[in-house]
Structures are given as C-alpha cells and as structure tokens.
Amino acid sequence: MAGANHSRNASQIRSRANDSDNDSVLGAVIDTRQIEAFGRKVTATASHLMSDAASTPHYSGALTSIQRSMRRPHMQRSVLSFTQQAPTELVRSKISTSEIAHRAVAFISDEQLHNIPETEHTYSLFQGFQASLPDIDENEHRKGHRRRGQKLLGAGPDIDEDGPPNLVKLKKRRNQTNHRLEMMGIRKNLCSSEIREIDNKIANLNSMRRIVLDRLAGLEAEEVEVGQEILQLDNQIEDMTEEEAVRALAESTTTLEPGQMTPPATDDAMDASFMSESIYEKLPSVKSPKSPKNKKRPSYVKRKSMPVLHEHLEPGSNIRTLPAHNDVVTAIDFDAPFGTMVTASLDDTVRVWDLNLGRCMGFLEGHTASVRCLQVEDNIVATGSQDATIRLWDISRAKYEPFEHNVHTEDDGLGFGNEGEDEIPPPHPDAMEDCHFMTLEAHVAEVTAIHLRGDTLVSGSADKTLRQWDMVKGRCVQTLDVLWAAAQASASHSLGTTGDTDWKPTTRGADANYDFVGALQVFDAALACGTADGMVRLWDLRSGQVHRSLVGHTGAVTCLQFDDVHLVTGSADRSIRIWDLRTGTIADAFAYDNPITSMMFDTRHIVAAAGEDIVKVYDKTDGRHWDLGAGAKLTVEDNMEGKTASTVGKVRLKDGFLVEGRRSGEIGCWTC
C-alpha cells in the first residue's frame, strides 16, 4: 500500500516521512533523533566550556545560531532531502578527476532524456541477457541431460515399477524443458532482431558510402573546372609575357624582325627538314606568338590532379560507353584514368577523347591509311599506320575548350559523347591541326606495333623489321631484322653454341592471318617483341642482338607486356602465358576459348580480349577469373530478345581504369 502511495507523488512521501514518527523510509541505522540529541549535547557542552568566553558576542552569536539550527530537525532533514545528493557523493563528484571524467562520458543531456520513443520489443534487454547468460554452463547441462535421457531409455521398465517419484521427476524435467523452449524462442527472436539491426546498419553504411561517393564525384568535377581555370590563367600569363617579349624585340631590332620570325611559321604541314632541326618540346613556345588563334582558345594540357573516383566504384561497373566509331576499333590508348584517350578505327579516323567528360576533342588527320597501332604517352601520341609511316602528335597543342557550349550543327551520324544530356558540341574541325609535329618514314610495309618510352620509340612492321627511332632527331637509329636474327639463332643452334634449345624455325611458319610483329615493348635498352611464329624475343638494343627467345606459344603472339619481374604474352593459340624474366621460364599460364587479340595488366589484374563480347579479367592477387563488360551484363531474357553486345577487340588497362574497343566501333570505360 505504501508503494502505491509512493508512486502517486514523490514529494508527498518526503513530507510524510518527515512529519510522521514512522521512520521506515529513513531506514535508520543511526536514528535521526539520536543525531539531534547528540548535537544538542555537544552544543551544550561546548557552551558550558565556553562559559567564560560568552562575553565575546560574536562567538556566542555563532554558537547560538548553530544551536538554533540544530533544534530544528524538520528543516534540517528537508534541506538534506531537497539537495538530493549525499555529502559523500558531493565530495566525490567535485574532487576525484576520474569520477568527473566518468560523469562527463556517462552524462545524458536533458534533450535526449525527453526524447524517449514508445516502442514495443519482442523481448526486453534483460530477457536477452538472461537468454545469453546460461550459454556458459549450457553445454555441461545439456550433456548431462542427454546422458540422463539415455539412462531413462535404458531403464524403461523401472519407471513402471516405482511410478510416483519418477512422475514427479518427469514433470520437473518437462518444466525444465519447457523453460528451455521459451529461452530458445527468446534467443531466436534475439538473433532475428540482431540480423535486422545489422541489415539496417549495412543499409545505412551503403547510403553513407553513396553520399560520400557523390561528394567525391562532385569534388573531382570541381577539380577539373579549377584545373581548366588555372590553365586558362597560365595561358593568359604566357601570352602576355610573350607579347611583351615580342614588343621588346620589335622595338630593339625592327629591321631584323621579319627575317627572324618567318621560318617557324612556314606552314602547318611541316616538312621533314624543318622537323629534323627542331626539338618538339620547344615548338609550342616558338609557334604560339605566330598563331593568334591560340591565344583565344586555351590549349589542352594534361590535368594536374589525380582522379581517384573509379577506385571506389565497384569493380566491373560501367563508367561510360562512347559510340566512338562506325567500324572496328583497331587501336586504343589513354594516358591516365579520366585523362585523354586516342582511338583508331577501320573507318579511317583517329579521334582524341576527353575521358573525364566523354567528349571528342578532335581528329588526328594525316595518315593516308588506317591506323593499326598507337600509344599515348603524356602529351605525345604515336600512331603507326598501314601507310607504313609513324606520326607523332602533341595533344597539348590542341584547341580544346572543355566547357564551351556553343552548338555546331554537324551531322555525320556519330555521337560525340553523352547524347541526351545537354547537347555537347562536336569538336572544332581543325582543333588538332597544330598537333602533328613529326613523321617517321622508313618502313616499307604497314606498321603493326609501336612502343614509346622516354626518347626511344620502337616500331614493328609487316616488312619483318623492327626499327628504333630517336624522337629528338626524328631519325631511325637502328633496324633489327627479325628474320635475320631467327636465321642466326637457328644457325648457331645447329652449331650447338646457344642456349636456345628447342627452337626450330622451319617447323612453324608465321601465320598469315596475324601481323608478323604482333606486339613489342621497350624499356631502356631492353626490347621484347612477339611475332607471328609464336616466338617472344628479347633484344638488347645496345648490341642489336637477340639475347633470349621465349618458346612456348603455338600461335602468333598478339600482345605482350612486361614489368620488372614478369613478361605476359597473349597469343592466337588462345593462351595467356606469364614468363619469369629472370629464368625465362613460364611462371603461369591459362587459356580462354578463342584467340587472344589484346591483353594488358596493371598491379592487380590481367585483362584480355578473347573474341567474346566481354573482357576476361584475371585477378592476380586471389587468382580469380571473372568477366567484365557489356556482354557480362546481358541476362537470359536479353539473349532471347536477340540483344547482343559486340565482340571486344582491344583492351587497355591503367590503374584500375579499363577501356575496351568493340568491333561495332563502341568504346566502353569500366572500373576494374
């Protein structure tokens, strides 16, 4: 009954406790009355002792005031109960630092206290606690129980003999088992609600990730804009200083000016003699004051910041698909993720793309036949063509303004990027006219492979030679005859003087369907080339000799790439082989269903195009094979409807950013 009263009003209790003699609430180990009595005694004794001191009015005043307050137990008790804090608690909370820290951590603001939603749960936290705690000795219990159960079965007849005690036992056990059943119910609830909780958390984290990803995307877009602004400003500054210089020059040497300045400005299609004496890096600064058009448009320069967005997208997600060409894509390369991409196709165009915006920046025009191979290195693009020439281009000289939006109406049936969004203007027809700066002519048949590193360019041609070029002077500095090297090797083999043991050039002729030089790569003085006879030869450019041949492929080598440890080759024999460069042996190999047409690897993946509508991806870290690309996204229904994706012919991969070119002319960008 007292409890019911308590619940009604807290203050009522307090007053009741104070007023009545019923001190049950106060518990009373030390009765309050006793304290009062003690207080009175003490004061009385003190005043007696101080009787002589009573003449000092201040002291006696203080004493009487104490005495007075001591005589009022009600007041004193109510003071204590209203503070609601025991003195020890007060002392502790004000003095001990660990206590203060604890209070700060455990403190709950009033706002939170008042925000208590009404929710029903299938089980209370305490039930959950009770349900999880018995786990500790559950095992022993259960074991014991089972043993008892067995005993029970074995002693079946005994039960009948003495019924009543066993019945009690059994009932008891039934109750126990019922209890366990209940507990299990609670535990099941516990698990399912925990799973729900985790699901919620996952959903929450996913949405958070999306938000942050959006933020990252926004930042990258902003970064690009800011980068463009910087470029623009840089260009303006450069132009200003050049104008100043020109003016100063004009003022000082007025008579000499025309003679000095004309030679570099002869024409746009520069002849070889001009090229041979000019150094390509210096060209822009010489040229720019002479072409006033350049001042109006900011030239395109490689972006300074490093995009990271694609690294956070799920592997295999499509970034962009460009309807780039009308015909089979023959070659692709790009400099960096979201950088500049160059594509070549059998439709005889070479296009330059801004991967960040998915826009065509312009055309590289000059070759008289299709481009078979190309490479983008910083601002330099090298293209090798069926017309047996190699052309070099400097994209930084392109007139390209990423954010201009004046719409030209030029209809050639091809998109220039994201159609359907706000119309992206087609590139300026002569946007790339200043880019070409060098033509390398020496090959007598189509150029099928090219590789550029630093100042060294190597090319492989259907004339069965490899050539090494000096990019500064624009001249061929070395010609490597593959057939001669092969003959040498076989000759010396017959004499038994080389380590190239199993090679017999006569047994396997070059496959006519594939390029004689399928792929090559240069690094410093090391050159690797893969040829149609299935051989991979490692050359030393200093001696011009083959110092090792890797034998193994049974079909033409179509693609090749090496790093400091491994050389990876893809071949028409449908296999990809990973060679150990130090030992010259095969470290790993795997095969697909069709001839490999293109392959590239980065630190984590080996990607290959193998005559399917998908890109084959091999994860080097966990050895997993998976498919990527438009074909991998097609469902059974799509196949029923006859929707197909075009065969992937070429792949390029850099830092987890993958670009694939299809036979339909489409280009897909993916994360990998």
Binding site: L49, A53, Y59, S81, E194
Partner: protein, 154 residues
C-alpha cells in the same frame, strides 16, 4: 515490460568471473559493430560487479546505448538509475528513476529503487551532517581555548 526488469537486489549479486569473461569476449569480438544486446549484456554484467571501475564502465556503456538506440531508451533508464545508485551517484540515479516513474507509474522495480535511493541519501546526509557538526563544534572549542589563553596572557 515491468515484469522483465530485475530488482535492485539482482544488481548486488556479482557474476562469476568466467561468466563476465564470456560477455566481455563477445563484446570485444563484435568490435566496432557491436550489437545492442551484446553491449547491454556486458554492461549489465559490469554493473553487477563489485568493482567500482567496472561499474563505471557499465554505466558508460549503458549511456552509450541510450544515446545511440532511441528505441531502447526507456529500458535503459532503469538500468542507468540502478547503475548510478550502485555507484553512489544518487542525484543521477534519481533523475533517471523519476523520469521512468513519470512514464510508468506502476513500475514496481522502479518504485522500490526510489525507496532505496531516498533511504541512502537521507542516511548518508545525516551522517554527513553529524560529521560536519562535530567538526564545527571541535573548531569552536579549539577557538574558545585559544581566545581564553590569549586573554589570560594579556
């Protein structure tokens, strides 16, 4: 929910170290993504302990649950009150308990906890006052003697 709350006496019986260790292991295993139930189990185990530092940790975990899981707030109030009562933080304990009683006037466990808190506070209050009074008197006596001796010297 009322029937599913432990009485204050339950909080006074510490778990066996092995039991507490199981709860702690579970709590630590779940790491950053610890579930509410696991957290509560550990917190309640800690509050039942007789070590003051463990009790404090328990209360901190509970206030964590309170802050992060609104749907468990009402339940948490009682445990917070109980934990703070064990710690001797009667003001906090009363703050939580009164709030809970406001929401659930018929909660028996909460009612008994209130009685316990009131009891403790006034008992400690009396003792404190007695001590304070004693100190004051002693000071008075001492002062008196000094005054007297000072006068005698004069």
């Amino acid at each position: 929910m009322g029937s599913n709350l432990p009485y204050a006496a339950d909080a006074e019986s510490p778990l066996r170290p092995a039991e507490l260790q199981v709860l702690r292991a579970q709590y630590e295993k779940e790491g950053d993504y610890v579930g509410v139930q696991t957290k509560f189990n550990y917190a309640w185990g800690l509050i039942k302990s007789s070590e003051r530092s463990e009790q404090q940790l328990g209360v901190q975990l509970l206030s964590d649950i309170f802050k992060t899981t609104p749907e468990r707030r009402r339940e948490c109030l009682y445990y917070l009150a109980l934990g703070n009562y064990k710690l001797g933080n009667y003001a906090e304990a009363r703050r939580y308990n009164e709030l809970l009683l406001e929401k659930e006037p018929g909660n028996l466990q909460s009612q008994s906890l209130r009685t316990l808190i009131d009891d403790k506070v006034s008992r400690e209050g009396m003792m404190g006052l007695a001590i304070a009074g004693g100190v004051a008197v002693a000071a008075g006596v001492l002062g008196g003697f000094m005054m007297r001796s000072a006068r005698a010297n004069r």
